[in-house]
């Protein structure tokens, strides 16, 4: 029953979020602000994680490929496939669910308990639309760019670490990352990213919007936002993978 209650309330909220904005210019400014707030500010952490994960995958692959039957360009191939198919679209989004999710839920939750959302409603503003729509749109727009940068840095990190640790040569790595490339896999990856961006922003906003009580409840909302966003990312990852790759 609880699940159906939350599902129903979530979809009612989403309907309110996508109703016609009061003034597009104000929403436009909010979207730009949110792109900076929830997107650009995540770039440093994404860059660091991606670069080092690319490096680690390179070293682990080279360490595992001991058979002379496996060519060394397989290292580059493995890094590319891991980064493009799973690490960047899913694991980075899980990390972002923690960062962005808690940020969104605590911001909206704090506004709820300090009556700022009531103030918006009293002014005749659709508070759900004004607060949540820019966050969803900003997330859906900026996350694919962040993940593209993550993919590039992951593969670049693998290259740097591969050369530095003599795991493979420059030629082998570059040949590997180009070998057997199928462009449709990017379509699969970015479909996942856009789906996850929507899930992270909307679910976190949902928990923040329906916060009741005080500071303790804001903390609980943030935790719930991260937990449920992560679980739904994993479920949708499975569903989309099943849909695209079988």
């Amino acid at each position: 029953m609880n699940l159906f209650f939350h599902l129903g309330r979530y979809f009612i909220l989403i309907k309110r979020v996508f109703s016609k904005p009061e003034k597009m210019s104000v929403y436009g400014k909010q979207i730009i602000h949110e792109i900076d707030n929830i997107g650009i500010s995540s770039l440093p952490i994404i860059a660091i994680i991606s670069f080092f994960m690319g490096g680690v995958i390179t070293i682990q692959s080279a360490f595992g490929f001991t058979s002379p039957l496996v060519p060394l360009y397989a290292v580059g191939f493995t890094v590319r496939e891991s980064m493009l198919l799973e690490f960047c679209p899913t694991i980075v989004c899980l990390i972002l669910a923690g960062k962005m999710g808690s940020n969104i839920a605590s911001e909206i939750g704090s506004m709820r308990i300090t009556e700022q959302i009531d103030a918006l409603e009293i002014m005749g503003i659709n508070s759900a639309g004004y607060l949540i729509l820019p966050k969803i749109l900003a997330g859906v727009v900026i996350l694919p760019f962040l993940i593209a940068i993550s993919m590039f840095l992951g593969i670049f990190g693998g290259y740097v670490m591969g050369i530095a640790t003599h795991a493979c040569s420059s030629y082998e790595y570059i040949f590997g990352i180009q070998a057997f490339f199928e462009p449709w896999k990017l379509y699969y990856s970015f479909t996942k990213v856009i789906t996850f961006a929507f899930l992270i922003t909307s679910i976190s906003a949902y928990f923040g919007y329906y916060t009741h009580g005080g500071a303790l409840e804001v903390g609980k909302s943030s935790t719930s936002a991260v937990v449920y966003s992560s679980i739904l990312i994993l479920i949708f990852n499975f569903l989309l993978t099943q849909l695209f790759l079988t």
Partner: protein, 253 residues
Amino acid sequence: MIEIKNISKSFGDRLVVDDVSFQFEQGKTNLIIGESGSGKTTIMKLMVGLHEIDAGEVLYDGLNFPTLAVKEKQEVRKKIGMLFQGGALFDSQTLEENVRFPLDMFTNMSPEEKMERVDFCLEKVQLEGKNKLYPGELSGGMKKRAALARAIANSPQYLFCDEPNSGLDPKTSIVIDNLIQSLTKEFNITTIVITHDMNSVVEIGEKVLYIYKGKPWWSGNGKDILKTTNPELLDFVFASGFMKEVFNAVNQK
């Protein structure tokens, strides 16, 4: 004018507002008073639609607010200004942006006209020159005044103030009370103030409704309240020894 007719509200099996009717007059400072937990804030939230009403009518110049469609409700709300107990200023915006917010959303004013209006509102609440401060940099009294400036920015027809004096020293309370009253007169607004501050009741209460356990218990003028014989209201008014002394002193004169 706003009129409430037989409004009731329960939370679970607890009846919080019980068949309350009253007329809040235009150009007057209308007060709803009562002890903490008596239901006065709930009445105000029912009036502005923050809580759904169980029974009764809330008429804004004849329009029954609870039965209006969402868009129609938004149109009525554009005419409402509200001062929340904690101010409810937007933390991420400066004072200027807070006051300008309703103008950005609902008017087609030029940036210069908006700035003029913002400066006018800030001057009205004696916060001129504080445009670039954030709510976190303001004192409690300044926050209330800033919230009042935002509430009047879009020239509201109805002004709701939820315990405007709570947490303020007596001197600042008088400043806020005087501001509310002068704005009410100057712009001919229907003002509704929720309070349990007796000083406010006597000073600015032109029409007072006393709520006791969710029921309308007494109504009259702020000055009349000192002559009441209603035992529950007497208990409320003279809860402090100081008020009794004031009352006796006034009677002796």
